[in-house]
């Protein structure tokens, strides 16, 4: 059975919500259902993801919006790496007949509360990171900068190439009223940005914010009865692990070296078929490495791809029309699904990608991640 995104919901994005993750999750979930005209009580499945206990799970959120009970629920542990898996698992649960209507959500006070890019307090670190944390090496903006440096060494990519990604996405965010960063960014602005972890400057890093996004997924039959045009899930591809951030054999490639062929083989599609690409952009380099892996361009060619306008309106594919995590804000990648659905429904407003029919959405970085293809037409 085909499944589709039938509804989308979200809260305001801000630097300090002044609200609980429960309150924001409830608003986003109610919003995703109200978007469709579905009776809230018909929602019988719920899935979310959270990391380091920074949010609230479906058992509590479903109660807070008055659902009678849940036939199916999962509280997945993870970050951006699990987002595509959350969507694929919700679709699989519907296809397996375990439930009919699933709300997938992410709610976080990512700026005012727990921040992924910063560790604080007296820490004792176990597992593989125990060898690295005592050196002051513990957070994603360090790991991924380390990988970017290796790419620069092997392929001669440059900071300006990363800057092309940051400035293009900011230009997109200028037309997005929901984005947190809408001030145009020039290459000079980018290069003048302060260093975070060289080769990353401030503008290479996702902008951490507070907020919530919810996505309603339903089966074919229910989708046909609802108000919004369905956005179909064509297929997904995931790849997690193998080796960790330090031992991964080739940091110029990410999880996508496995997930991309898996996705394209399953869907019979390729990069050149995509109208929109919501590329997970925790950091600019994540966009660079995954665009190469998904086949948008040759190794080392991403900077030129952006510089020539191939990643924006009128080019080959519009990358992150909402501005991405860099400029719209960091709702941990679920906001990429929101944007892809909006574009494929033709509701992108000023930033609508003309005739958008197919979208790639990716999520994750380094050894851990996945992706989906969405379509405005039933597969």
């Amino acid at each position: 059975m085909s499944t589709a995104i039938a509804g989308i919901g979200r809260t305001e994005y801000s630097r300090n919500s002044g609200r609980t993750t429960m309150a924001m999750a409830a608003e986003a979930c109610r919003g995703a259902v109200a978007d469709t005209g579905l009776d809230l009580a018909e929602v019988d499945g719920m899935i979310c993801f959270q990391a380091a206990g920074d949010s609230v799970g479906p058992l509590a959120v479903s109660q807070s919006i008055g659902l009678p009970e849940l036939a199916w629920s999962i509280d997945m542990n993870g970050g951006g790496n699990v987002v595509a898996n959350v969507i694929a698992t919700a679709a699989a649960a519907i296809e397996a007949g375990l439930c009919r209507a699933v709300v997938a959500y992410r709610s976080l006070n990512g700026r005012s509360g727990y921040r992924f890019g910063t560790a604080t307090g007296k820490l004792s670190v176990g597992g593989p990171l125990q060898f690295e944390a005592p050196h002051g090496y513990l957070v994603p903006p360090q790991w991924i900068a380390m990988w970017a440096k290796r790419h620069q060494h092997v392929y001669g990519s440059t900071c300006e190439d990363l800057g092309q990604i940051a400035t293009t996405q900011r230009a997109h965010a200028v037309n997005n009223p929901h984005a947190i960063n809408r001030t145009p960014l020039t290459m000079d602005d980018y290069m003048a940005g302060r260093w975070i972890n060289e080769p990353f400057r401030i503008f290479d890093c996702a902008y951490e914010i507070d907020g919530a996004v919810a996505i309603l997924i339903v089966g074919r039959e229910l989708a046909a009865s609802l108000r919004q045009p369905p956005v179909w899930l064509v297929g997904s591809g995931d790849s997690q692990s193998g080796r960790g951030w330090t031992e991964w054999d080739d940091p110029t490639q990410m999880y996508s070296r496995y997930a991309a062929p898996r996705l394209w083989n399953r869907t019979g599609l390729s990069a050149e078929d995509m109208d929109v690409a919501c590329m997970y952009d925790c950091f600019t380099y994540t966009v660079m490495a995954t665009m190469e892996d998904f086949g948008f361009c040759e190794k080392g060619g991403v900077g030129e791809f952006f510089a020539k306008g191939q990643a924006t309106y009128g080019g080959d594919v519009v990358v992150n029309p909402h501005g991405g995590l860099l400029s719209e804000g960091y709702i941990h990648g679920l906001n990429h699904y929101y944007e892809a659905a909006l574009q494929l429904r033709g509701q992108g407003g000023e930033r609508q990608v003309p005739d958008a029919k197919l979208a790639l959405v990716t999520a994750g970085a380094g050894p851990y991640g996945g992706a989906s293809v969405l379509s405005s037409e039933e597969p």
Partner: protein, 146 residues
């Protein structure tokens, strides 16, 4: 190098049965990594059984010689204990013992602007700031062909 003032404690390791051999070695002033006693492959991070052949592993000293596989210059205090040290260099150190055998570690005795990929390094043991634990750091050595 500038004089370093450390005002906070760095994160401490939380050893377990599989990793305590590493920390016991550094306490003795040695760098030791897990090694399969059957196929002799080195293992890091350490595991009870070899990830390749499932043979038993034990910690054995390494030479401490290696080279910079990649590196970053940390400018933002993202981890407690290091604000007085900024900017500092973290490298992925590829060890001579085996291709792909790496440690992520802080470099000492080098300015960030002088660090390069491929630079030859030698490990030495230093304190974890504000802790009883000791840990390997790496220092550039005169460049001869490895």
């Amino acid at each position: 190098m500038s004089v370093v003032t450390v005002v906070e404690a760095a994160p401490e390791p939380l050893p377990d049965l599989d990793t305590e051999g590493f920390w016991k070695a550094t306490a003795r002033g040695e760098i030791a990594l897990g090694r399969c006693q059957s196929c002799r492959r080195w293992q890091h991070p350490p595991v009870e059984r070899c990830r390749e052949c499932a043979g038993p592993t034990a910690f054995e000293p390494i030479s401490g010689a290696g080279s910079v596989y990649s590196f970053i210059v940390v400018h933002r205090a993202s981890v407690p204990g290091f604000s007085g040290l900024l900017p500092y260099v973290i490298a992925l150190v590829e060890l001579d013992e085996q291709p792909g055998l790496r440690l992520a570690a802080r470099l000492v005795g080098v300015e960030p602007s002088e660090t390069t990929i491929g630079q030859r390094l030698q490990g030495e043991i230093t304190e974890v700031f504000g802790s009883e634990y000791r840990i390997p750091v790496f220092r550039p050595v005169a460049t001869l062909a490895p």
